[in-house]
């Protein structure tokens, strides 16, 4: 059995198995740390930076940092919350996000985080980038206006031989996440659905699947993102 360690989050005493990623360790103790690029079951790649916390004074991402004994974690503080809010705002100004017209509205994690952080309007000017919609694949549409570069699809969607269907292209603010034109054609329906489910926003859409879920039944219609964790009982 793994060693059990003690740590605190915002002063609250917590315990967890040593080596567990902090997000998970917090979750097991009923503490929600907002995440966006992280996806349970795939290797973390701290790219959105929303899960940033202060550990013993240093900023670290909790999706990539294993828990260790005696960590003092600051998460729900004014400084950290404003940082997270700022990052969400940055993601909004980076792309072209028109929530009312989006197939993923109500099921979108970016939108849900914006609600949770009570964002009315971003503090930064929009950059209005020119982005394309890649509709060349028969099964899915890659809507680049909405892509937030979380790399979930890159990490999660592979063919039977382990080859990636999605990859990054270019670097910096010119980066794009693109679909392999050859492997994309051989994609199964199941993999296409998985890709759409893995995407936190409406950037990967399975054709003819938009708006099928009635308003009121969507994931974040009734409760803010993260509330299920906050209402859960700590697991031992």
């Amino acid at each position: 059995m793994a060693k059990i360690v003690n740590f605190t989050i915002d002063g609250k005493d917590c315990i967890a198995e040593e080596g567990l990623y902090l997000v998970q360790a917090a979750k097991n103790n009923g503490v929600y740390i907002p995440t966006l690029c992280n996806y349970e079951g795939i290797k973390p790649k701290g790219s959105c930076r929303i899960c940033t916390v202060r550990i013993n004074g240093r900023l670290m991402t909790s999706c990539t940092t294993p828990i260790s004994d005696g960590m003092k974690i600051e998460s729900n503080t004014e400084e950290i919350n404003d940082l997270r809010k700022a990052i969400i705002e940055l993601l909004f100004v980076e792309g072209n996000h028109f929530c009312p017209a989006c197939e993923k509205s109500g099921n979108c994690e970016l939108q849900a985080l914006a609600y949770r952080f009570k964002i009315m309007v971003p503090r930064y000017p929009y950059t209005f980038p020119q982005r394309r919609v890649d509709a060349s694949n028969p099964k899915i549409i890659k809507e680049q206006n909405r892509c937030i570069m979380c790399k979930r699809c890159i990490r999660a969607i592979k063919d039977e031989q382990g080859r990636s269907l999605f990859a990054y292209k270019k670097r910096g603010h010119k980066s794009e996440v693109v679909l392999d034109p050859v492997l994309g054609l051989q994609m199964s329906d199941e993999l296409a659905r998985k890709a759409m489910a893995v995407c936190p926003v409406g950037s990967i859409l399975v054709r003819e699947q938009g708006f099928i879920q009635p308003i009121g039944t969507r994931k974040f219609d009734k409760k803010p993102i993260g509330s299920e964790i906050e209402m859960s009982q700590p697991t031992k």
Partner: protein
């Protein structure tokens, strides 16, 4: 006969972790990486084509289209601009009839910008078909283009003769100058290569080597300043069947070029340092990662490695020590500043995009191919040889209490004697200015490159050292006549925008937002609040994964702190709000398409 894509792939055993080398060779052989080549690589290495493309498109010097028979990469660093780059650029464009960023219709010329190529003491400079041309003038550019039209080889175009020292060596043949202006323990000529390996290592245990390095109190010279002895100890203690020593010669921080001078003049010292590190941590393989801009040094470096193997300074039972086996290979980059970050360096050497890794785990636990790896800067490894030779205590006699030893400075900008200076830590900025012949009217000094600080004269008494101005050694001097905001701060900020790997949301977006604000101010549309917004907004960058993002706002933040008046002079004082909206600019496309005009 050029090698075929297939033979290149076979040379590297179709190993996807050697993708960098495969791509470098294809690029060099064909002048670009065709989509057929991409498909072939994907097929042979069993990865998707987008996977191949994600590596290609990350690096500046990989291209998927031909780049011209003569490919010119003209440096666009701040100092290049100060030394007259604009005229050089115009002359190239006029003489070749081609714009920068394009290839001429006949395929003869390709003109491209590139960030600092490590020649700040001899700007303007360009890399043409892999050869460096320094101190360019419009006259020389005309000559060069004429020569190209005549079909001359790049070697034939070099009429300047060769630079000093090994630059004239038949394996280098470059016109680059070393400009070594002050020597100390590292650059000292009085050094017998191999002496530590022959005389010291056989008498010491690895633990004793580490203890000696610790006693010297030397810290990493690559910028982060981590204690070298401690790093080696961590790696020695880490479990792993294989261990690696990486030497970081990516030297991408604009304004540094001292590692280039070491690679040219003291490569044996550097390799000896790598062998010592290998002995200390128990490594069997070493990789010298060199930035692409220094590819002209490849044959020179390889011949030194070969010589070392022949003298038993590399290979099996090195220095007669039974069971001490170690060898070094050279890995070239392909144009990405962020690859200088140690974990990005490792990713790149594994054939991937140079994206920094999340830490922990640190490279000393899980580095190259997940084996324990030490990454050290060129200068650090050189200094260690002298530590071993003369002892940690001797080394501590140089510098200050917290910063022992000497530091190589790369000095450029408005001064009489740009070049490399080896000084003891504790030197003040004021003394540096005197030493390098700067004029008394210096307006500002950039210490530590774009990621460092822009200092105003009131701070020139500050000293170089981990306790005050920690620096990798880039010193850029700006005279009174320079426009700091437009020519320096904007250029540095754009450098970070271009070089961000794009992984972190913060580093990918915020520098662009800040640059837009800065442009708003430079365009006369700024208000006081914009200045304070920039200071406030920049804070999110601290949540970025690596030093690039964390320091990307330093040019703006440090210039606002030390030169606020320059900003205030440029903002509107008659209002506290200006959206920055420009009607003519915003409807430009429409006006063009419709053929209409705006009436004021």
């Amino acid at each position: 006969m050029v090698a075929s894509v297939t033979s290149i792939l076979e040379k590297y055993n179709k190993d996807k972790t050697r993708l960098m080398d495969i791509l470098l060779e294809i690029q060099e052989a064909f002048g670009y990486i065709s989509s057929e080549a991409v498909n072939e690589i994907a097929r042979c290495c069993n990865i998707s084509t987008v996977d191949v493309q994600q590596t290609i498109s990350f690096y500046h010097f990989f291209t998927q289209k031909p780049t011209g028979k003569y490919t010119v990469y003209l440096n666009n660093s701040v100092v290049a601009n100060m030394m007259g780059r604009e005229q050089i650029k115009e002359t190239f464009e006029r003489e070749t009839g081609t714009k920068f960023g394009q290839v001429s219709e006949d395929g003869l010329f390709g003109l491209f910008d590139t960030s600092c190529i490590g020649m700040n003491d001899q700007e303007p400079s360009a890399i043409i078909n892999g050869k460096v041309f320094t101190n360019l003038t419009p006259f020389r550019v005309k000559e060069l283009v004429r020569g190209m039209r005549e079909g001359k080889d790049v070697e034939e175009l070099m009429v300047e003769g060769y630079g000093d020292g090994n630059n004239g060596n038949k394996l280098v043949r470059s016109m680059v100058m070393n400009n070594i202006r002050r020597k100390g323990p590292i650059l000292d000529d009085n050094y017998t290569p191999g002496i530590v390996i022959w005389k010291k290592l056989p008498t010491m245990t690895p633990e004793q080597v580490i203890a000696e390095v610790k006693a010297s109190n030397i810290k990493g010279r690559g910028g982060a300043g981590f204690p070298t002895g401690l790093k080696w100890e961590f790696c020695r203690r880490a479990k792993g069947d294989r261990k690696f020593i990486f030497c970081n010669a990516d030297e991408g921080e604009p304004g540094t070029f001292k590692d280039r001078v070491i690679l040219t003049e003291r490569p044996k010292l550097l390799f000896e340092g790598m062998v010592i590190a290998a002995y200390a941590v128990g490594a069997t393989e070493g990789i010298l990662y060199v930035r692409h801009e220094y590819k002209y040094l490849q044959k020179h470096l390889e011949s030194i490695l070969q010589g070392a193997r022949e003298r038993n300074l590399l290979g099996k039972d090195i220095g007669g020590i039974k069971g001490f086996n170690f060898d070094i290979r050279i890995q070239f980059g392909a144009g990405a500043y962020v690859c200088g970050e140690e974990s990005a360096l490792i990713e790149s050497a594994e054939g991937k995009r140079g994206e920094p890794r999340d830490r922990p785990p640190f490279p000393v636990e899980k580095g190259y191919l997940d084996y324990p790896t030490v990454v050290n800067n060129v200068e650090t490894l050189c200094a260690v040889v002298k530590v071993m030779l003369n002892g940690g205590e001797w080394y501590r006699s140089f510098g200050t209490q917290d910063s022992t030893g000497t530091k190589l400075l790369s000095v450029s900008g408005d001064c009489k004697y740009p070049g490399v200076y080896e000084v003891e830590w504790g030197f003040s900025v004021y003394d540096i200015l005197g030493m390098v012949g700067a004029t008394p009217d210096v307006q500002a000094v950039q210490v530590g490159g774009p990621s460092g600080t822009l200092l105003a004269p009131v701070e020139f008494r500050r000293i170089l050292g981990y306790e005050d101005l920690a620096t990798g050694g880039s010193i850029i001097i700006f005279g009174k006549h320079r426009d700091l905001l437009k020519d320096v701060v904007l250029n540095f900020t754009e450098f970070f925008i271009d070089e961000s790997c794009g992984s972190c949301s913060t580093c990918r977006i915020m520098p662009v937002v800040l640059r837009n604000k800065l442009l708003k101010i430079l365009n006369g549309k700024g208000v006081i609040k914009d200045i304070d917004d920039m200071l406030e907004w920049a804070k999110v960058l601290k949540a970025s994964r690596c030093g690039l993002g964390q320091t990307a706002a330093n040019p703006i933040v440090s210039s606002i702190k030390n030169f606020r008046h320059l900003y205030e002079q440029r903002v509107r004082m008659d209002t506290d709000f200006d959206s920055g909206f420009n009607l003519a600019e915003s409807v430009k496309d429409y006006i063009e398409a419709s053929g209409r005009v705006i009436v004021e």
